[in-house]
C-alpha cells in the first residue's frame, strides 16, 4: 500500500523529533521545506533519516537517490514512486 503524503510527513516529523530529542512544530514540514537549509539536517542526520525511511517503508534508497533529496517533496515522491513500482 502506498502511504499518503501526510503519513510520510508525519514519519519525517517523528524521525527528526527523535533525532533532536525535543518537540518540533509539524508546520515546519511543508512540502517545499528544504532538508538542509530549513530543517537543519547535517550529513549524519541525513543518514539517520534515510535509515528511518528505509526501515519504516521497507524500501531501499541507493546513494545517488539519497543524495538527490533536497526537499520534503522529494522524499515523499521517491517513497511513493518506489512503493508504486514494487
Amino acid at each position: 500500500m502506498i502511504p499518503t503524503r501526510n503519513a510520510i510527513i508525519e514519519q519525517l516529523h517523528q524521525s527528526l523529533q527523535r533525532l533532536r530529542g525535543r518537540r518540533i512544530v509539524i508546520e515546519m514540514f511543508t512540502e517545499e521545506a528544504r532538508l538542509v537549509e530549513e530543517l537543519g539536517l547535517d550529513s549524519l542526520d541525513r543518514l539517520e533519516i534515510r535509515f528511518d525511511i528505509e526501515d519504516r517503508w521497507k524500501i531501499e534508497l541507493d546513494d545517488k537517490e539519497a543524495a538527490a533529496l533536497a526537499t520534503v517533496r522529494d522524499v515523499i515522491d521517491i517513497i511513493q514512486s518506489k512503493l508504486a513500482t514494487s
Binding site: 527523535r18 533532536r20 530529542g21 543518514l47 539517520e48 535509515f51 526501515d55
Partner: protein, 415 residues
C-alpha cells in the same frame, strides 16, 4: 628549561546522584548523606543487587541553558552539564552567547565510554540483525565522543584527548592536564571524568564479576574500611574542572579555588583485577615527590576506598607504609561510601571534594565504617560523620582495574 608553573583550579562542575552541581555534591558528602538507593532506570527484578548511586534521566539542555544534540547516552548528558558549570565558574561560558573559538584544551577520562550507545546498537544487532544497527553508531559510541562533543558545543579549539584507565581515568586525565600546564604546553585545560555503569548489560557484567556489595538496606551497603564490607556499589557521575596556569588566571582576574600541586602514577604490572600494595605506594610517593612535599605535610587523604575486600586492605597498608602511624592527624575517608563508584568519574569528583574540603576546612566521613579494619594500623577513617579540620595539602588516591594507580595532590591557594 623554563621553571614549572603553578596549576590552579578555576572552575568545577559535577553531576552526581545528589543532583546537579558541585554545590549539591558538597552538600551531600559533607553532611554524610548516602545517595545510594533502588535503581529505577531499568528492570532489576531477580538480580542479586538492585541498588546504586543512580542519576535519574534528565534533559541536559535545560541545565546548560541552550539546545544540545539529542543523545540516549547518560554519560554524555552528565558531562555536558558538568563541563558547562566548570566553564561558567571559570568565566569561559555564557549560555546565551555563541561559543567563541576559545583556545582551551580538553582532556576527558572515561573508563566505560558511551556504553548506553554501544549497548543499544549491539542489542539491535543481536535481536534484529545487521540492518537494524543505527548508522551513527560509530561516532556516537567512540570513547572520544565526550571530549569531541564538548569541544564542538563549547567552542574549545585546543588539543582534544581522551584517557582510559578504568577507575583512575579521571585522575589520570587531571594529572595529564596538570602536566601540560605545568610544563608550558597549555594555559587552560577542561578536564575531569565521566561514566555511567548503570546501563543494563554493563550492570549485569559488574554483577557477575561478583564484586558488588549485597545488603538489605541500600544506603548501608557501601562500607569502605569496615569489617563487614562486601564489595562496591556502582554509581553515575561526571566531574569536570578547569585547570589553568596561575599567571593566566590572574591576568583574567579569575580567583583560583585551589592548586593541583602534584601527580604520581604507577602500574602494578601484576594482575587485571587483583591490586598490589607496592603499586599504590609508588604512586603516592611519586605524587608527593612531584609536589615537593613530605608525608607529614599531608593533612587529608581521600581514599580510593571502594569497599571491596582486597582494595581496602591493600590501600590501608599502602597508606600505612607511606604515612606511618598518623592517627587523627591524618584523616582518611572514602566518599564512595556515599556516592557509590562512578568509575572514571569518581576520581574527578574526589578531586572536587578535596578542593571543597580544603576551602571549607572540613573532612567528609566514611559512611558505614562501623568497625574499622584493618586494625592495628592506627588509622582514622572518619567514620560516620565529617568534622572540622584544616587542610593545606590533600592526597586523592585512585586505583583502576588493570593496575593503573593515579594519585593527585591538591593544595590550598596559599600553598
Amino acid at each position: 628549561m623554563n621553571p614549572l608553573r603553578r596549576v590552579m583550579v578555576t572552575g568545577q562542575g559535577a553531576v552526581t546522584p545528589f543532583g546537579m552541581g558541585a554545590d549539591s555534591l558538597w552538600s551531600g558528602v559533607s553532611r554524610g548523606r548516602s545517595a545510594v538507593r533502588s535503581i529505577t532506570g531499568f528492570e532489576t527484578t531477580g538480580m542479586p543487587v538492585t541498588f546504586a548511586g543512580e542519576v535519574d534521566d534528565f534533559d541536559p539542555s535545560k541545565w546548560v541553558g541552550r539546545d544540545l544534540p539529542a543523545t540516549r547516552d547518560k554519560s554524555l548528558k552528565m558531562v555536558f552539564v558538568a563541563a558547562s558549570e566548570a566553564l561558567r565558574q571559570a568565566g569561559l561560558f555564557e549560555p546565551d552567547q555563541r561559543p567563541e573559538n576559545l583556545f582551551i584544551n580538553t582532556v576527558v577520562g572515561t573508563g566505560l565510554g558511551p556504553c548506553f550507545e554501544a549497548e543499544y546498537s549491539y542489542g539491535c544487532f543481536f535481536t534484529q540483525g545487521w540492518k537494524s544497527v543505527r548508522p551513527t553508531t560509530v561516532p556516537r559510541s567512540m570513547f572520544n565522543s565526550f571530549a569531541s562533543q564538548l569541544s564542538i558545543e563549547f567552542g574549545l579549539t585546543g588539543m582534544n584527548q581522551t584517557v582510559a584507565c578504568a577507575c583512575a581515568s579521571g585522575a589520570s586525565a587531571i594529572g595529564h592536564a596538570y602536566q601540560l600546564i605545568e610544563r608550558g604546553s597549555a594555559d587552560v585545560v577542561l578536564t575531569g571524568g565521566v561514566d555511567s555503569p548503570l546501563s543494563p548489560a554493563m550492570f549485569a557484567a559488574w554483577t557477575n564479576l561478583r564484586v558488588l556489595a549485597r545488603h538489605e538496606e541500600p544506603e548501608r551497603a557501601c562500607r569502605p574500611f569496615d569489617r563487614d564490607r562486601s564489595g562496591l556499589v556502582l554509581g553515575d557521575g561526571a566531574g569536570m574542572l578547569v585547570l589553568e596556569a596561575e599567571e593566566h588566571a590572574l591576568s583574567r582576574g579569575v580567583q583560583p579555588l585551589a592548586e593541583v600541586r602534584g601527580f604520581g602514577s604507577s602500574s602494578d604490572s601484576s594482575h587485571l583485577t587483583a591490586p598490589t600494595v607496592d603499586g599504590p605506594v609508588r604512586a603516592i610517593r611519586s605524587a608527593l615527590l612531584d609536589a615537593g612535599l613530605r608525608p607529614d605535610d599531608v593533612d587529608y587523604v581521600n581514599a580510593h576506598g571502594t569497599a571491596t575486600l582486597a582494595n581496602d586492605e591493600n590501600e590501608a597498608h599502602a597508606l600505612h607504609e607511606v604515612f606511618g602511624r598518623r592517627g587523627a592527624s591524618l584523616p582518611i575517608s572514602s566518599s564512595k561510601s556515599m556516592l557509590g563508584h562512578s568509575m572514571g568519574a569518581s576520581s574527578a569528583l574526589e578531586a572536587i571534594i578535596c578542593v571543597e574540603s580544603i576551602r571549607n576546612r572540613w573532612v567528609v566521613p566514611t559512611l558505614n565504617c562501623d568497625h574499622p579494619e584493618p586494625g592495628g594500623l592506627d588509622q582514622d577513617f572518619v567514620p560516620g560523620q565529617g568534622r572540622s579540620h584544616r587542610i593545606r595539602h590533600a592526597v586523592s588516591n585512585s586505583f583502576g582495574f588493570g593496575g593503573a594507580n593515579c594519585v593527585l595532590v591538591m593544595s590550598g591557594v596559599e600553598g
